[in-house]
């Protein structure tokens, strides 16, 4: 079966403004050499901290920012930078959608939320008339638990959780097949987060969606995903099924991440792994493994040579010199 989305060697570098004329050009290595596949109906979780490149990765795939190198394939077709002609581009913008992180910043404060929802429908052709669009919008609002009367209200009249639902409706209004959710529940209270996560699961079933869920909360990402990508400083450190992210046979960074998650329980904790220092700047990534400066298992080879992705199991890859290859 062919993956619905395939990313190959995606790299995105941002040039850093030169301070002096004859200085060597430096780059922010936001995303480097990222490759993965997503299958229809699945949910890929991408987890990482600041500077990991996860948001830039999503934007590059959706051609919201041009890639530096690498390719993106959607349903087998090369859609890198959405260079597919006007009609093709419109189709892609409908089929690949995004729900943004900040429910307070992603809605135009001067537009009624109903207008914000119908606008993409009218542009992309999912509705021919305003009346038709409005009917569809109201129907979708009900699907996410909002009353159709809210169509004529402005964003400031809604809470964070409600705005997030509106953002979801806006993304769904154009009949997407692939939905990117960038930190879509991070700004929400715990109980509202639970409601939205359940909603995401219901909508996936109902609308036959495929998700790419980006976040930093490992518990949330694990809950919603089948497969998880762990990113650090622009590179993928590990790809694993959600239930194989724990234990010693994972990347040291993954172990540190898992260990760092504060658990709401009184059960005794095993020794916590505390990483030294800060996340380094993606402007000058360390030579060798990106994680070598903070890794508790680092050895000389790690500082000299960058590890490749090693397959350690069915659908499980680890970028580490000490990963045990599957036999």
């Amino acid at each position: 079966m062919e993956p619905i989305l395939k990313v190959e060697g995606l790299t995105k570098l941002f040039p850093v403004k030169k301070q002096k004329l004859l200085e060597e050009r430096r780059f922010v290595h936001a995303v480097e050499d990222v490759s993965f596949e997503v299958y229809q109906g699945g949910t890929l979780g991408i987890v990482g901290e600041s500077g990991s490149g996860k948001s830039t990765l999503a934007r590059a795939i959706l051609a919201l920012t041009p890639v530096t190198s690498g390719s993106v394939f959607y349903q087998g077709e090369d859609i890198t930078n959405f260079r597919v002609g006007a009609a093709g581009k419109r189709r892609l913008r409908s089929e690949l959608q995004m729900v943004f992180q900040d429910p307070y910043a992603s809605l135009n404060p001067r537009m009624k939320i109903g207008e914000a929802i119908v606008e993409p429908m009218l542009i992309n052709g999912q509705a021919k008339t305003r009346a038709e669009a409005r009917e569809k919008a109201c129907h979708l609002l009900e699907t996410v638990g909002l009353r159709p009367e809210v169509y004529d209200r402005f964003p400031y009249e809604f809470s964070g959780g409600q705005r997030q639902r509106i953002g979801i409706v806006r993304a769904l209004s154009v009949n997407p097949k692939l939905l990117f959710c960038d930190e879509s529940v991070s700004a929400l209270d715990v109980s509202v987060q639970a409601q939205i996560l359940n909603l995401f699961n219901e909508l996936k079933e109902r609308f036959h969606l495929t998700y790419v869920f980006i976040g930093h909360d490992l518990a949330v990402i694990r809950y919603i995903s089948d497969q998880i990508l762990v990113m650090y400083l622009g590179k993928i450190m590990e790809i694993a099924p959600y239930d194989q992210l724990f234990g010693e046979h994972t990347h040291p960074y993954t172990q540190a991440l898992v260990s760092a998650v504060p658990e709401p329980s009184t059960a005794g904790r095993s020794q916590r792994i505390l990483l030294e220092g800060d996340i380094p700047s993606p402007v000058n990534p360390p030579r060798g493994c990106r994680f070598c400066n903070r890794c508790f298992q680092a050895e000389e080879i790690c500082r000299q040579e960058e590890p490749q992705m090693i397959k350690t199991g069915e659908r499980h890859w680890i970028r580490c010199h000490f990963a045990k290859p599957a036999h």
Binding site: S191, A194, L218, V261, P264, L274
Partner: protein
């Protein structure tokens, strides 16, 4: 065990433009003890920030104190003069704010900012002494190369480092009470783990710690005692073990059940139906009533009394001993 601070039936509200006062905090009572950390847990609108601001007497305009007392080492904070409060803040009573990225003055070195807290309350100290104490404080919070960092500016520090600076500022005068308002929310998870570690170490050295957060995991990491707040009411309180192992109030139960953990099963998360009411919609009784599956007539009309549900466990709920 000495009590550092005690809230006794404290109430406050907000005055609307037309003069009507809407109550928010409804007779909340709890205490923080020496050497212990109390977690104040709740979601948006529960009043936890107002609680800490009340403690510091830094309430916003329009806020009205409606009753009760806040006792600090036996004296009522609400009766203190502006001057007395100034002497307390940064000295015996200290706060770490939520957003380390923006809480520091960008045009002063961190050495100057931390030093200022020291000289404000100890004007007799000489420059050299101030500097060496600041260096000590930086080391205590785990900032490497303090001799270099002391003369740097906030923009030269990462989020996690800035939070350590905030903590250094807050503890340099060995406060009797340290309030931390969502101290790790804006930080990456591995940095959060480092900060929690710093706080755990400092807790042993200082008086009492009050951690305000919506993150149950953070509470479990550093608090011994917990008070759960909902819509301005303190609905359950007790030891960490009592609350986490045996939550009684339906809101507390709902909150615990709705958080996915690393080991959660993949079934729909429990969700509390409805949404948090605003100050304009509060009912006279228990404010959680309309979202509660056990709601009765009485719940809507009368606020239940705090009753003892176990050793070190109090809950404000009409549901009696049948659970």
């Amino acid at each position: 065990m000495a009590t550092i601070v005690e809230f006794k039936n404290y109430s406050m509200g907000f005055r609307d433009d037309d003069g009507t006062v809407y109550n928010l905090l409804d007779r909340i009572s709890f205490r923080v003890e020496e050497g212990k950390a109390l977690g104040v847990v709740g979601e948006s609108g529960c009043g936890k920030s107002m609680t800490s601001l009340s403690m510091m007497r830094l309430l916003p305009d329009g806020a009205v104190v409606q009753g009760g007392e806040i006792l600090m080492e036996g004296k009522n904070i609400l009766d203190m003069s502006g001057q007395e409060m100034q002497a307390l803040r940064g000295n015996k009573l200290s706060m770490i704010f939520q957003e380390p990225m923006t809480a520091l003055n960008p045009v002063l070195t961190i050495g100057q900012q931390i030093g200022e807290i020291l000289t404000l309350h100890h004007p007799e100290l000489k420059k050299q002494e101030v500097r060496s104490r600041v260096l000590e404080a930086l080391e205590e919070v785990g900032i490497a190369h303090p001799e270099t960092r002391i003369d740097q500016y906030p923009h030269e520090f990462s989020g996690g480092m800035r939070q350590r600076v905030m903590i250094a500022m807050a503890v340099i005068n060995h406060p009797a009470l340290l309030i931390a308002d969502e101290p790790t929310t804006a930080l990456d998870v591995t940095i959060q783990a480092q900060i929690l570690d710093v706080m755990r170490r400092l807790k042993k050295a200082s008086g009492g710690l009050m951690v305000i957060t919506h993150n149950l995991g953070v509470v479990a990491e550093i608090c011994e005692e917990v008070v759960v707040m909902y819509a301005g009411q303190a609905i359950e309180r007790g030891t960490l073990k009592a609350i986490f192992d045996n939550p009684i109030h339906p809101y507390t139960q709902g909150l615990m059940a709705s958080v996915p953990t690393i080991r959660s099963e993949k079934k729909p998360l429990y969700t509390i139906p409805g949404t948090v009411p605003t100050v304009y919609d509060f009912v006279p009784g228990c404010r959680f009533a309309d979202r509660c599956q056990h709601c009765s007539e009485r719940c809507m009309k009368e606020v239940p009394p705090m009753r003892q549900a176990g050793e070190d466990h109090l809950v404000q709920c009409w549901r009696s001993d049948d659970r």
